[in-house]
């Protein structure tokens, strides 16, 4: 199961607009299960409610794991989003 580490290097962390963009990006990969880990806590990357309570502040390093048909594509898309500073399309 592929896994990447990402540093959330923005002003607000995975909150507000960045959180929404993260979930929207993850939700594009329907047959893929994507999990976000912050420390010992993990959550479903497609759940905005879980992601918000995961408490990913600015500067946090998260681990993202994916499993399923488009696992690599999903991780690439999330990496581009986070490393691109959450700029919109």
């Amino acid at each position: 199961m592929p896994e990447i580490s990402l540093k959330v290097d923005n002003d607000v962390g995975l909150h507000a607009r960045p959180a929404a963009l993260f979930v929207q990006t993850a939700a594009r990969f329907q047959d893929t299960t994507i999990e976000v880990r912050n420390g010992t806590a993990t959550c479903d990357a497609k759940s905005i409610l879980q992601l918000l309570t995961l408490g990913v502040g600015p500067g946090t390093v998260i681990t993202v794991r994916a499993e399923g048909g488009q696992a690599d594509e999903a991780l690439d898309a999330l990496r581009n989003l986070v490393e691109g500073g959450f700029s919109e399309g």
Binding site: V23, D44, S47, I48, L49, Q50, T53
Partner: protein
């Protein structure tokens, strides 16, 4: 009878005053009479959530232009409705025998409490969102997708225990004279949306629903957070609509008006002046010219209603689409848009300009807030001519002529405003005609966004006109439709306009947009919009306000 009721105090959430009849929002039906229809079918939960989310996204799209934060809130709630963990939480509860209501409310509440437990203000608002989402989903499951404000058909002070953004945004904002809720805080969604729409609001007012029950009317002061519920007779006299608090904005907002009654309404609404008083209403639909006395009486009434704020009276602007029966065109005009209209026609007809100039000079002598604006000026000589006529009339009356300005609607004038220094004290950008002439596209034909004011070339023309006018020492107002759009107002303030004038109904939304952006942010956005590749890009930059 018995004097007016004591004021109740809540938390001020959106400035301004309003009074009118009370509309008490029905509580989201909680069980009781109607048994849940297909509520316990797990499949139905998914379908209902999808339908409710679709409705929010649709509402968000409709409001994206005028109420951006509100649209973002709706989109966030739609995302929660589609959240797989919320839906599985509901399904798990249904599988273990909960009723639809218990399942939905229970699942939403669990997430709400988790969000609140983090102890961050932003997440506390998200907790309120999850609870809203639970209520929306429950309503949808019961087959009642309708808004709780469905019964609101006349403008009223809306009172509720709590109000979801989807409720507030489901009705025409002009029906919401003011909003009063028992819950919420200054940063809650109800408050954010009220500020964005320019609607006075008081939140966290304990006992508001009880006090509103049986009270036919209320007056609300959203600046200090006071609400007074009154008797029927008090309401009838106080049914004055809503008054905006426009004091803290980067530039004064004025209203456009077409009659003295509209000037009064603009004054009541809190406008800081009239930036365009059209005088065509006096002339159209009549068989003969209007006398000096009749004109003077109406101008004086308008100036009194708005004092001490300025009233800019535009001299008669007819021809083209507004022909006068007693002033036939002097020659056949194959293209009346480019024919004898505005100042060209007015100067050519003594029976039109002479009584109007005399009336304006007379009223100006008694009302220092009167200003005069000349439409469709193309050349310096036209303004020289106009100035001479005002000087002569003033000389005859032993008065000083009123402050004189020109409307900028022609590109050639817009790029050469320094030539008018000394002839005009101010200019007002008539962005509708200026855009049509700059793009060669009739706005009535709806060509799409690229042939509108947001075309970067037109934005550059407007910014250059403002800068050129300022260099020549002229005050710059804007009275075209662009000033009444939140994105347009952001641009114009950023480009340096000294005041904006708009339809009275736009004052609230524009005040809401400008209240969130200081002059610096507007400047940055205005510069970026001029440099955008196309109108679509410019609009996006102005919406984001960066």
């Amino acid at each position: 009878m018995g004097g007016s009721a004591p004021a109740l105090r809540g938390t001020p959430a959106s400035g301004g005053r309003a009074s009118g009849p009370v509309f008490l929002v029905p509580e989201a039906s909680s069980g009781g009479s109607a048994p849940p229809a297909a509520g316990t079918d797990p499949e139905a939960v998914g379908r209902a959530a999808e339908a409710a989310a679709d409705r929010l996204v649709q509402l968000a799209r409709e409001r994206a232009g005028t109420a951006q934060s509100a649209a973002a809130i709706l989109e966030a709630q739609a995302m929660m409705l589609r959240d797989p963990s919320l839906l599985s939480g509901i399904r798990d509860r249904l599988a273990s025998g909960s009723s639809a209501e218990e399942a939905v409310v229970g699942a939403a509440e669990t997430f709400a409490q988790q969000l609140e437990a983090v102890g961050d203000e932003y997440l506390r608002q998200r907790a309120a969102d999850v609870r809203d989402v639970g209520r929306l989903l429950l309503t949808q499951l019961r087959g009642g997708a309708a808004s709780r404000l469905e019964g609101l058909t006349e403008p009223a002070v809306v009172v509720a225990h709590d109000l979801a953004p989807a409720d507030t945004l489901s009705v025409d904002p002009s029906l919401l004279l003011a909003v009063v809720t028992e819950t919420g805080g200054p940063t809650s969604h109800a408050a954010i949306i009220a500020r964005e729409l320019g609607i006075p609001a008081v939140v966290r007012l304990a006992g508001a629903v009880e006090a509103a029950r049986g009270a036919p009317g209320a007056s609300v002061d959203g600046t200090v957070g006071e609400v007074r519920f009154g008797t029927a007779s008090e309401v009838r006299t106080a049914a004055g609509g809503r008054r905006l608090d426009l004091g803290a904005l980067p530039v004064p907002l004025r209203a456009n008006a077409g009659s003295p009654a509209a000037v009064q309404a603009a004054a009541d609404a809190g406008a800081l002046g009239v930036g365009l008083l059209r005088t065509e209403f006096l002339f159209l639909g009549r068989e003969e010219p209007v006398s000096e006395d009749e004109q003077a009486a109406l101008y004086a009434a308008a100036c009194s209603a708005m004092a001490p704020h300025p009233v800019v009276v535009r001299t008669l602007d007819v021809g083209f689409d507004k022909p006068l029966p007693y002033v036939p065109p002097e020659r056949a005009e194959p293209n009346p848009a480019l024919g004898q209209r505005g100042v060209r026609l007015w100067l050519a007809h003594e029976e039109l300009w002479r009584p109007q100039v005399a009336a304006l000079v007379r009223v100006g002598a008694a009302h220092p807030n009167l200003e005069v604006m000349i439409p469709m000026v193309a050349t310096r000589s036209e303004m020289v001519d106009v100035g001479t006529r005002f000087q002569e009339a003033a000389g005859r009356q032993g008065a000083t002529p009123p402050r004189l300005g020109m409307m900028v609607e022609l590109p050639a004038a817009a790029v050469a405003l320094d030539r008018f220094a000394g002839l005009a004290a101010f200019v007002s950008l008539g962005t509708n005609d200026l855009t049509q002439y700059a793009l060669g596209a009739d706005r009535e034909l709806d060509w799409g966004v690229e042939l509108t004011e947001y075309n970067p070339g037109v934005l550059t023309l407007l910014a250059g006109a403002i800068e050129g006018a300022h260099r020549a020492g002229l005050e710059v107002g804007v009275c075209g439709e662009l000033a009444g759009q939140p994105e347009g107002a952001t641009f114009l303030v950023g480009a340096g306009a000294d005041y904006l004038s708009m339809a009275a109904g736009s004052l609230g939304p524009v005040a809401g947009a400008l209240g969130r952006r200081d002059a610096d942010r507007c400047r940055t956005a205005a510069r970026a919009a001029q440099a955008a590749r196309d109108a679509d890009g410019a609009l996006r930059l102005l919406r984001e306000g960066r």
